[in-house]
Symmetry: C2
Subunit: 342 residues, 2 copies
DNA sequence: GTGAAAGCGCTAACAT
DNA sequence: ATGTTAGCGCTTTCAC
């Protein structure tokens, strides 16, 4: 492994100049830079990140804290973030909190503290106040994606508005008995999201002068089987069957579609179904939905963090920026699972 | 941020002793260790990973190189690996090669070279010879999970045997017209896996004295919609319809189940279907399958790497270990999608 | 625009 | 078992 002084020797300059030429920090003449770059690539020189980090205080690494890896939303956010990070020469270190809970303590007490990352983003995480405190105590840029996080800059769709939109779509099609399959705290690390979506659903009903019927709400777990079970209960009832279902996630909505089929109901003739997400399978099932774009959210989160790091370099004097709430776009996609109420 | 000498001062010992006490490398009396640990926790001291890495040459970080994040298998492997790594104080840095291909070059030419990781595992990756070369040139432990990688230690199920097992299950139920939905090179970064599975299928047929019929093979893309399309073509044929389908992945098998339903065929009465994976949705769909356990594969991969690192510390003289092929266990799980041929 | 040199915060000989 | 000290390979003042 060639070192910086090998490059310096070959290029006939000092190590300081090599560092400046390769990092872009500090003035170097074009001729010199060219020589250095040439020498570096000739030797196959790549800077040692440890040495560079130690000397500069910057790691060029971003931490991503997620509750699971097994859900489409989380992984899409990470993929999006990594797209922009890799492009900027940053690495992404993953802290997955699934598991017994020992993970959780270790990550917050140890891993995040040892200066391995310049900034952190979390995905759909419901953090204890103490954990938020630890995160902020790092003194590093932090962004929370998908769900509000008190005291932290966040990036998320407006869950309430999105739920309203989905519900209003059904109302506008003439539906009056509209059921909701949501989430519940017991199933999820994050309970703000299901709550906001439920509130949006109820608001839409009230604004349309429709009653909010407890019988038409089921709490589930955001999975396909969960949506199936919930829908089957509601659709199986011989009386007062809903004519439309709004599920808080596409996976639950797909479960609902399968439940309807198993009950001999046709979608959308007998029942309209809409979800939230625009999951990859939504198209296959003809599912109407409100798309959120987790990949883009990840990209945007990464961009926010890189900007903050840049700002910190430019004006180190500035106090830490105020936490900001960024709203990610979401759009209604109408497919074949929703239609007018006959 | 307190440093090691703050701890040393408070504990009344030298920095070397602090280092030894906290890392466990080198002898420290129990009394001293207790004092140091107490001082460290009192100050909230956490070692700076950069400084430690630079001085020791060890990063306590493992690199994971994956082709996508959006597939259940990959994320499960990573989750498994991270379970054991976090427990050992290791971080996991993720290199996701999805994207335009620029990623791919950058990762191999730059990110992996800058000494940020002690070891690397790859998941289901079909690497160019040059990329394998680069990986090995790191001089670090490398393990390939899910798919053979020439010159690299690997951990994978025996795809051929697994495919045979699935096919033999169908044969033992009296099926004689057994179709196969596989993968194809054009859809996948990795083409060994679909090929091995197809060969296993054909072997099982031949060994049972059954003909291998080109009409009964469809190449697809390992997704649910892909499996649906492939199955619909084969099952829709009015003549010579297969009585059983072996799909190379559960997602394709689930697509096949849905295709059968849409054609008015009952599973398993009219057609038996089996997959490979034991995907989380397999149970919901009653899908018979051959389970591989990607989480455990990830755990085992991590353990292999940690062992190799340990071995390298113990006997640094030893030449790099020979590449070893480890076979991960896989077991037939019979659910309700397969039954005797009437 | 470039070079000299002082660290960055640890670890690992080596000495005691 | 513990302390002293010389780096690890860079970046960044500070001179020039």
């Amino acid at each position: 492994m060639p070192g910086i002084d090998d490059v310096a020797r070959l290029a006939g300059v000092s190590t300081a100049t090599v560092s400046r030429a390769l990092s872009g920090n500090g003035p170097v003449s074009d001729r010199t830079r060219a020589r250095v770059v040439q020498a570096a690539s000739q030797l196959g020189y790549v800077v040692s990140s440890d040495a560079s980090s130690l000397a500069s205080g910057r790691t060029r690494n971003i931490g991503a804290v997620v509750p699971h890896l097994s859900r489409w939303f989380f992984t899409s956010v990470i993929e999006g973030a990594e797209r922009v990070l890799l492009g900027q020469g940053y690495d992404l270190t993953l802290y997955n909190l699934s598991g017994d809970g020992g993970e959780r303590r270790r990550v917050f007490d140890h891993h995040l503290l040892r200066n391995r990352v310049d900034a952190v983003f979390t995905v759909s995480l419901e953090l204890a106040e103490e954990e938020v405190g630890r995160l902020l105590a790092l003194g590093k840029p932090v962004v929370g994606v998908g769900g509000p996080l008190p005291g932290v800059s966040t990036l998320t769709i407006d869950d309430l508005a999105v739920a309203r939109l989905a519900t209003e779509h059904l109302i506008s099609l003439g539906h009056r008995r509209i059921a909701h399959i949501g989430g519940s705290q017991e199933f999820d690390l994050d309970f703000h999201i299901p709550t906001s979506r439920r509130l949006g659903y109820e608001q839409a009903l009230r604004d349309a002068g429709l009653p909010v019927d407890e019988q038409l709400h089921r709490a589930s777990d955001f999975t396909l089987p969960g949506g199936y079970d919930a829908a089957k209960q509601m659709l199986g009832s011989p009386h007062e069957r809903p004519t439309a279902i709004f599920a808080a996630s596409d996976e639950m909505a797909i479960g609902a579609i399968l439940a309807a089929r198993d009950l001999g109901l046709s979608v959308p003739r007998d029942v309209s179904i809409i979800g939230i997400d625009d999951h990859p399978l939504a198209d296959f099932f003809g599912l109407s939905t409100v798309a959120q774009h987790p990949g883009r959210q990840g990209e945007q989160a990464a961009a926010l963090l890189l900007d903050a790091l840049q700002a910190a370099r430019t004006s180190p004097g500035r106090a830490r920026a105020e936490p900001l709430s960024h709203t990610a776009p979401a759009d209604l996609i109408v497919r074949s699972s929703t239609a007018v109420h006959p």
